[in-house]
Structures are given as structure tokens and as C-alpha cells.
């Protein structure tokens, strides 16, 4: 592909546009081709390939890294929907490798062990788009400033507890609403407070929404969790451990997809919430030691 102004790969529009096509959908964590097929059959709009789901990373500990390329290739082969994969925060070479494998989206993720405690990846030079986590608007805008083409609220992955996802969704949305009430002079101070690029702050004050698609993630375990996130303003849902750590992954995956689409219809949610078997075991966030909270990773 040529890179002149009229034609090109990896333009902002092409990267952000990809996320637009996922809106209203569910993206599921999978660790092998078999799970990827289950996710695709259940109606997932994309899968996230990773070596261990967050719940297992919590139990097993150690350094969590990018997945084995063989495993990612296997998943790309197995399904026809887009395949995403995780790179460690700041690990630009893992990201280069994932791009070379042809993944459709990279998640620069706090679920993996950070590789750089000062800098995130400079995402602009990449052709492949990035999704990044955020706990508030300032964090989201710093990531967008670095080239992220999609944002997900972080939540607390691998806990089966939706409380942090709720906190982060509400925070991002409240921060956006506040910006729309400020006058132009006040936006400079707001940018300073948010530690975010002033141009992005001005853009959001004007439009009242993020310039990229906003999904939610981290702790979604039930159809009702997914529907609640959608009603709180998420444009789609990442489900990690919640599906394959539950008693009946096939049924639960289908139910979460349906709940995401019909998030505003309690009759549907009631119907699909029946007989799903065991949900994943949940963790109380307040019982987690500070060094095991993932949402604090990244800055």
C-alpha cells in the first residue's frame, strides 16, 4: 500500500473505524483455538488471544507476557472473526511482533506485567490499532494522545466482581459531562488537572464524547453485569475470565452476547439468566493486596 495522502493503511480513520464495527458486541478472552471457536459460535464480535485468563494469572502469579506466536496463529487460523492479542504496557517489541503476526487489534494491557513503568507504547507508528485501559478520562486521553484507537474501562480483571468496572465507567462518563459544562478558559486548567492534551480536552468539551469507541472490561461475569455496563454507557463489552471460568461456558457466552444487545430489556435478561450454571468464583476487591490490583498499572 502506498502512503500518500489519498490512500494508506493504518490511518487514524481506519484504526478507529475498526472499533466502530465492534460496537454493541462482546469480545471474549480465549486461550486456545477450541475456546475461540466456542466464542465465535456464541456470537462474539472478536476474540482476545492470551496465554492465561486473568483469574489464572492471579492464582499462578509470576510475570505475565505476550502469548506464544504459535498459539496466536492457531487462533487466527481457527476463527474468521477479528483476533486481538495483549502486549505488556510499554513493551513495543511485543507489539511489533503481534503486528507482524497479523493480529487485528493489540490490547496494551495492565493484565500483563508492565514492561515499562514510565512510558506506554508510542502507538502512532503502528499500522495495527491499539485498545488501552483507563480508569478515568485523563488516563483515557493520555492513551488516545499516544495513539490508542479504542478505550476500555479497566475494571479489575480476573475477579468476577464488576464494582471496579462500574466505578471506572461512571468516572469516565462523569469526567466527560463535567468538561461540557466548562467555558473555554477553564478548559486549560481542566487539561492540567486531567493531565491530558488540551486539544483532546477541547474536542471532548465540544462533542460530549470520546473521539474513539469506549468498551468496558474487568469483572463482568453475568448477563446482568454486561447489560448494566451497556446502560452505564459502554459501547460494548470485554469478557475475560467470566466465560471460560464458569460452569457452562457455551451457554454463558451466548447469554452475555444476548444481554449486551438487549441490555435495555429486563424481560430478555431475566429469561437468559436462568439455568446458566455456576458463575466464576468472585473476589472482593477490598481483600486484594495493593500489589495485586491491576487497575493501578499504567498511569
Amino acid at each position: 500500500m502506498s502512503t500518500d495522502q489519498n490512500t494508506g493503511t493504518g490511518t487514524g480513520r481506519v484504526k478507529r473505524g475498526m472499533a466502530e464495527m465492534l460496537k454493541g458486541g462482546v469480545i471474549m478472552d480465549v486461550v486456545n483455538a477450541e475456546q475461540a471457536k466456542i466464542a465465535e459460535d456464541a456470537g462474539a464480535v472478536a476474540v482476545m488471544a492470551l496465554e492465561r485468563v486473568p483469574a489464572d494469572i492471579r492464582v499462578e502469579g509470576g510475570v505475565a507476557r505476550m502469548s506464544d506466536p504459535d498459539m496466536i496463529d492457531g487462533i487466527i487460523e481457527a476463527v474468521s472473526i477479528p483476533v486481538m492479542a495483549k502486549a505488556r504496557i510499554g513493551h513495543f517489541v511485543e507489539a511489533q511482533v503481534l503486528q507482524s503476526l497479523g493480529v487485528d487489534y493489540i490490547d496494551e494491557s495492565e493484565v500483563l506485567t508492565p514492561a515499562d513503568e514510565a512510558n506506554h507504547i508510542d502507538k502512532w507508528p503502528f499500522t495495527v490499532p491499539f485498545v488501552c485501559g483507563a480508569t478515568n478520562l485523563g488516563e483515557a486521553l493520555r492513551r488516545i494522545g499516544e495513539g490508542a484507537a479504542m478505550i476500555r474501562s479497566k475494571g479489575e480483571a480476573g475477579t468476577g466482581n464488576v464494582v471496579e468496572a462500574t466505578r471506572h465507567m461512571r468516572q469516565i462518563r462523569a469526567d466527560i459531562r463535567r468538561l461540557t459544562t466548562l467555558d473555554e478558559t477553564e478548559l486549560y486548567a481542566a487539561a492540567k488537572e486531567l493531565r491530558a492534551p488540551v486539544e483532546l480536552v477541547q474536542e471532548i468539551a465540544q462533542s460530549g464524547k470520546l473521539p474513539v469507541v469506549l468498551f468496558t472490561a474487568g469483572g463482568i461475569a453475568t448477563p446482568a453485569d454486561a447489560a448494566m455496563m451497556m446502560q452505564l454507557g459502554a459501547e460494548g463489552v470485554f469478557v475475560g475470565s467470566g466465560i471460560f471460568k464458569s460452569g457452562d461456558p457455551v451457554k454463558r457466552a451466548e447469554a452475555i452476547v444476548k444481554a449486551t444487545t438487549f441490555h435495555d430489556d429486563p424481560d430478555v435478561i431475566a429469561k437468559i439468566s436462568r439455568g446458566l450454571g455456576e458463575a466464576m468464583v468472585g473476589l472482593n476487591i477490598t481483600d486484594l493486596p495493593e500489589n495485586q490490583k491491576y487497575a493501578g498499572r499504567g498511569w
Binding site: T7, R16, G17, A46, P82, Y105, T127
Partner: protein
């Protein structure tokens, strides 16, 4: 959003009964395999099939184009499309996301400058039947790829319109206006 600028009322359809009073339908981008699956799960397929067969104006972009085709290549075996357009479409023909691109296109029937088209994991039209009008093609001069010579990316057959690309991502409403005219004329 784009349609709302064309003096028509646009609303989402998730249930079969929401199809009843429509004058036209847009099948948007997304994943055609997922759409095909969910049309069955959400029990919308047969009602939509019936309306399309009866001549409901339709516009499909990207995955929507695939859903309107008679035949789909490189899809999933269990994927089913509506056959509202007499064409064979190749899914993800331009490649994966790293190959997604934007380019200026000349589209038959649109006045003014070239149209900036955004192709995302896009399909192309492999072949068309005699009643299908080709509105736009791309080639190596646009994509830099010799394999894309003369590939069809926009078509119309009666009240059914389809594009490989996503006009809703550019703020240029001319394709949506064309569809609004088709709906008004139907």
C-alpha cells in the same frame, strides 16, 4: 448518524416486529459471520428475508454487503446471506486489519469530488449478474496491490445498494443521500 442528516428517521432494529413499518433498511458494518449467527439466535432472519424478497430497499456496507449477496466466498460454512443482490462476494478480500486502508474513489451517480472511502477488513465483489449495476471499482493505482485490478466495491440492483467501504466514517453523506433517494422513490 449519517442517515439522520438526510431528512429520514433512522432507528435500530433488533427484533423481527421492528421491521414491519420500515421503508428501507441499512445493514451496517461489523462481522458478517456474527451477524448471520445472531440473525438466527435473535429470530430476525425469516422476517427480514421476506421483506427483502418483497422489494424492501436496502443498503449494505462491508459486512452488510456480504449479507445482501447471493453467494459468499471465504466465509464460514454455516454463514447464510439474503441473496438480495445477484453477486458473489469475497469476505475479507482486501486482507486483515493491518491491510485496511482509505482511498479516493469515483462513484457513478455521485456529483462532485472523489469519495473518500474507508475499507476495513473489507470484502470485494467477485462477480455480478446481468441486472447489477457496478458503481465503483478499485485497482492497483488506489491500493498499491496488483491483485486488486478492477475489483468491484460498489453496486446497485434496483432498490438494493451495497458498498465494500464505510461511508459513515467520513462525514460525507452522499452515499446515504443516494440511498435515501432510492427509499423515497420506491
Amino acid at each position: 448518524m449519517s442517515l439522520a442528516e438526510c431528512d429520514v428517521i433512522a432507528r435500530p432494529v433488533r427484533r423481527a416486529e421492528e421491521l414491519a413499518d420500515l421503508h428501507g433498511i441499512v445493514i451496517p458494518g461489523g462481522e458478517s459471520t456474527t451477524m448471520s449467527r445472531l440473525l438466527d439466535v435473535f429470530e430476525v432472519r425469516s422476517a427480514l428475508e421476506e421483506r427483502l424478497r418483497a422489494g424492501l430497499p436496502a443498503y449494505g456496507s462491508c459486512a452488510g454487503m456480504i449479507m445482501l449477496a447471493r453467494e459468499v466466498l471465504d466465509g464460514r460454512e454455516d454463514q447464510r446471506s439474503f441473496g438480495a443482490l445477484d453477486m458473489v462476494v469475497r469476505r475479507n478480500a482486501f486482507g486483515r486489519q493491518v491491510d485496511s486502508f482509505e482511498a479516493d474513489l469515483d462513484i457513478k451517480g455521485l456529483d462532485g469530488d472523489a469519495f473518500r472511502a474507508v475499507f476495513i477488513r473489507a470484502p470485494w465483489v467477485e462477480s455480478v449478474g446481468p441486472d447489477v449495476e457496478v458503481l465503483a471499482e478499485v485497482g492497483p493505482e488506489v491500493t498499491g496491490d496488483q491483485d486488486t485490478l478492477g475489483r468491484i466495491v460498489a453496486v446497485r440492483q434496483g432498490p438494493v445498494l451495497a458498498t465494500s467501504f464505510h461511508p459513515e466514517l467520513t462525514g460525507d453523506e452522499r452515499v446515504h443521500r443516494l440511498f435515501a433517494e432510492i427509499v423515497r422513490g420506491a
